[in-house]
Symmetry: D3
Subunit: 296 residues, 6 copies
């Protein structure tokens, strides 16, 4: 009986302290009445819908053939449009703490952004076809294109990145980052949606690979697991905050290969056709065609 | 018909062999009648409940404002208390192979431990506020605190660690490890619940980062992906078993930064303000303010 | 009204472009009427069933004791047989683009392969018992065997690998790779199902560890996080394609330890009892008993 | 091959015919872009929430006591308000085929109606307490009030009716009918939400009982299974349509009992204290205190 | 300890007795290896798909308009075809205890039957449109056609019946009965799939209404709750079994109304335009235009 | 803004009123800390498990044959035992408002009752076999025993009744009633678990059929839809409460048939071999072999 009362008082005190404004102020998100938060579950479904649209026949349970593909894509694209509009709206709402209402105007803006994304899907498919081809050509363990599309985590992460990058280019906040983090969690590959990456890109194995916000990567580049394209740390501004928006990650040319666990730090240039071997710590430019090794 | 019979005999033989006590003895967990195993699903829900309590408004679907926050926290804390009590009991039961029954006494013990954890939540929130602030200050790509709380895997892993560490300090077995492994699986960041870590701690990207059992980390420390605070290997005891409970991981001071893929091995000391650059293999002490590079 | 029409036209145009055969040709999987794709969800369940069979009492909710274990294993093995037959059939179907029908013959073949896998379960349990023992003996943080079987990601990944390797040896296509990718996604450990690995094998932490297709690993080997047994890159054949099926990964002897973030590249030999320390980039043979360090 | 083609042509022809406007015109609901249909699933949850609020401790998994009841009710009422607002909006939208947009104004109206419903909950609880008491007093098989609240289909149906009636009184379209149909499907008791029913009402067994739209029932009335309070059929209007909104069902006084399978047809009056015995077909008024039997 | 042993022995004895062939022989369904049982869950989905196809816009979450309806119907019909084929195959398999294998031939037969059903969907929609119209015209409480299609249990049961009747006509075993039982469970209306029912048919309220196997019902017939069209009981054959397949239920003409709880027993004829009032027990023919009342 | 405030005040006032002890007192169930309420979901699973045990091969997805049936029944019975123990404990707890704790003793009692139920399963199967046989023999529309076991609502309701009756005989409170209410909701057939019913019992169609608490039914009895075996209403005791536990329902002999919508009221006797035709209201004894008709 006493134990029961003590219980209540401990719990009650904790609730009281946790409800104290001073305690939660810094960590509180004050939501408007109708505001929905972005949903990881829905964004996962959105990425799955994109995959079903981009690689017909590999996902979804229905039978697709040349006669019926338009029916299927019609329905999939419409479903995608509806879900994506809601998530974009949630992202806009989350980003703009000062806006007064999340009403019809925001819905219209979100729907327009969602449409623009859909209009870009054919180009997105084209880019991903080059990535799949590059992966197949460079991996002796791959049996055929289907295995890459269906099973390869590197290709999966690139797919999420290209979707997220498209949304980031359209100015959609938060949603792109959540989409690349979904891939990060599944594959261990962390590509910032704002990084710029050329065609025929491939990542093998990939766990631990990081490609930072202002990285620029050319065409036909191949990267292995544990590689970091990392940002140089600048001194904070006078208020002690990080300075944002400065180019601080590597520029990598065409036909470059970077082996496992290499770290490239700062706004350095790696020339076309260069090879960076494994476990290197690299903070200077590399000329075209050059190879860099760890000393052993 | 013959194929069918052969089938049955193959399956039957396999069942027979697998049911042979000699075969399963080493790998068998003999459960008591009422014993429930710890549940990864429930522990995931527990961590989600903690997040909803610690960062109000970021998780959960209900509308929270200053007037209603106490109602919401009241219900969330009570739900947490009930679920956590059950999991702690499962952990105690799993740990103590010799106990005769999993009856009322164990339930009382588990409920008391669950209460002590809840009593520590306000302090836990305070610590995590410093971690969020440190992450925001050091990452130029972060837009605001909300993005860090909502999307950053490093912050997510630290949150699981701080919850798990609190439970470990209370003497709860197994459950802390499962909670940090949940974060490990989601983020690739593996922090042992027994490690001791100061305030204003941040991990960027984080995939592949390992912080071992007897590590001690000061305040304002920043760590990148692929960093290991690893344990020295001691010779086994006379029975060939590993010697347990010895300090064998690094001691890291305040204001230290460790860049990607660096490995710090053994009970070494890294002084305040030191910087360890990427891909270094480090097995000796580092003085305060010193920088360590890979030779290139 | 106009906005609505423009909307329709943007969406319609995207559907049209995406349905154009030239656009999807390279990325299209043309499925036969009755063809089911391999299912990640079902394969997850299959791996869970294997665990419940191999480590009785650790998984599943039912009460198992020496009297009833045969009942439980009987039902579990039968369920496994049914599900595995379907997935193997899906894998065979996916692999053979030219076959005319997925009819009864394929079902018979799949059922036979599933049976052969089940016949190998006792031997698989024996191997995994040695792995659990090795993990316990080498990790001072482990409390008992139960913790390793229940919580350790390294052991989890080895378990998926040994299941997948068995299926690969039987000639089952795709399914083994999906099973190791499930572990890769959960644990960050990427072991190719075709790699050959001896008994008493252990991986600690493991995130970022990669063991390539033609790797050969002896007995009593211990590996840490971020280690790569990577394949040498051969020049492509005259058609620009990767040459497949060549031995291009390391051969590692018995009683070898490889520390975190080390990369071993190519068909090199590491002798019995050798130690490779962390962050090394290694492309040459290592003699028995030798140690290799990063220069610092 | 030919079979396959014939297949496609049969399916294709059916799709063509079904997509022909003439075919679907009468049965087509043209939804606006943002319009959500009322959801049976959500309305089920809404009724469950009402039950949890009205009968605390009988539903929901959390521990409620006098100290914490306000927290629980606070959260439950808020959740109810959110869900009910959405369903009312869906109902308004479904009812008004001509409205141009389902925008902010409709949301405001729906939220106001939802609030008015919530304001009526205390009175609703009071009425249901009289119904539970009446049921207990009249059924010798009932053990206690708890059994009635928890298990009795008659009480369950009355509960849905009182919720639906309140919403109907507020002018909410469709939603009330769907709520009584939920009870109809579960219990076989069909009470029109517009019927007017006094306090201390009870239905025993109840399968097949029907209480029509313009029925009026006094206080302390008891009804058994298979009883119909049915509407007289009027001749259709000049266009052949049913004339709507006319009083055409029975008026039943206080303290009346109606036994199983009796049918009362048309706008007849049954006086206070009357008893209608089973299997009667009744189309005329009954005086106060009178009994009516089937001739046998 | 003793309690535990006694426990085991009681349970063990029960298992032993229940596994004794003499005990289960009469109630055992010996399934073939690949045989799937018909699934109530899947048949529910099939009926929902039919509704979504027949009444576009009322079911399903996607936006349908005149431009996109063909896409949606294309995908829905294809999904229906796949699921229905499987269920028909399960029904054929369940019906034919002696067949040796459930192989490709059965699949082909099931697919053909599924196609024939789909080919009949346009005609089915036409019939249901007349039923909806008749319901609306006769019920003063109905607001519009939408309410009938969306909420009315009588219309719901007729819809299941018309689907089931179509399948029964095609010779599909079991599945039709399960489909009408789904409606029976939801609505309390039990229509045998083999009954023959004309157009413009309506059932109001309907709980307890039964329409037996060999009933024949004309056009423009209206039926209320609790009405039975019941079969005469014939003397059993010489082996004591019921004689099957004899006409034993009523024949009802056009424009007939039957009020609540009336029972019509045996192969009687009810003439065009007749009215059967409530609670009547009727075992003889009724002339055209005649009315039948219960004596009171 | 003002609307928002008014909103809060309406909601807040409602919460206040609903939390007032005077308001909820009569309808409040004060649960003890560890008390679980009986769960409809779990009881549904329990009934399904019973069906899978009693009619092997008709339910469950696994392949059962004479060799493996003991494995399957072993696991099913054990699962049943665990779930039933929990529900019985919940029922005991719900029934006894005064007991101090729901601890180990209650668990032991519940486990013993669950065992006794399991010990009765073979006898239960035997009774149900006679019911299935009687149904098949009397229904000309039935194709075979399988259809009755798999699809017939009458048999389904009898099955729930026999399970519930067994539990009621053992003295388990509440749980039996919930189990018969599950069948009531699914089938519209309401059999009180305390009624006593002989072997070879069948119900056809059954919607609206009610068999009251103190009914006694002989062997070889057949009942149709809408039949009530109803209880006479006694005057209340001096406190105005119903007098409980008195025999007040009909006694029905062997080989009796009761046609649709007949009501039998009070403690009357219906002799062996009697026939009660449809829509009769019967309140007096019926001699053996007699037939009773509605006057028309």
């Amino acid at each position: 009986m006493e134990a029961q009362q003590q219980h209540s008082s401990i719990i009650s005190r904790a609730v009281l302290e946790l409800s104290d404004e001073a305690s939660y102020q810094a960590l509180f998100h004050s939501r408007r009445d109708e505001e929905a938060l972005p949903s990881g579950e829905t964004l996962k479904r959105i990425v799955d819908l994109c995959r079903a649209i981009l690689f017909p026949g590999y996902y979804g349970s229905a039978r697709i053939n040349k006669q019926t593909i338009r029916y299927h894509l019609g329905v999939l694209v419409e479903t995608l449009h509806g879900l994506l509009t809601k998530e974009i709206q949630a992202g806009l709402c989350f980003a703009d703490a000062s806006c007064e209402s999340c009403g019809d105007q925001l819905t219209t803006e979100a729907a327009a952004l969602s449409e623009q994304f859909i209009a870009a899907l054919p180009q997105l498919r084209h880019m991903l076809a080059t990535d799949a081809e590059a992966t197949y050509n460079s991996d002796p363990a791959a049996q055929n294109l289907g295995e890459i599309i269906f099973c390869y985590p590197g290709f999966r992460a690139i797919c999420n990145y290209r979707i997220a990058h498209q949304l980031d280019q359209l100015g959609v906040p938060y949603i792109p980052r959540i989409i690349t983090e979904l891939a990060h969690s599944e594959t261990g590959i962390d590509i910032h949606p704002r990084a710029r990456i050329g065609h025929h890109f491939s990542i093998d194995h990939g766990t631990g690979t990081v490609i930072g916000e202002t990285s620029v990567i050319g065409n036909y580049v191949r990267i292995f697991q544990g590689v970091s394209l990392a940002g140089e740390k600048f001194p904070p501004d006078e208020n002690g905050n990080a300075i944002r928006g400065v180019d601080r990650h590597p520029i990598v040319g065409d036909h470059v290969t970077i082996y496992s666990n290499a770290t490239l730090l700062g706004h350095i240039h790696v020339g076309d056709g260069a090879t960076i071997f494994g476990n290197v710590w690299l903070t200077h430019d590399v000329a075209a065609g050059e190879s860099v090794y760890q000393r052993t």
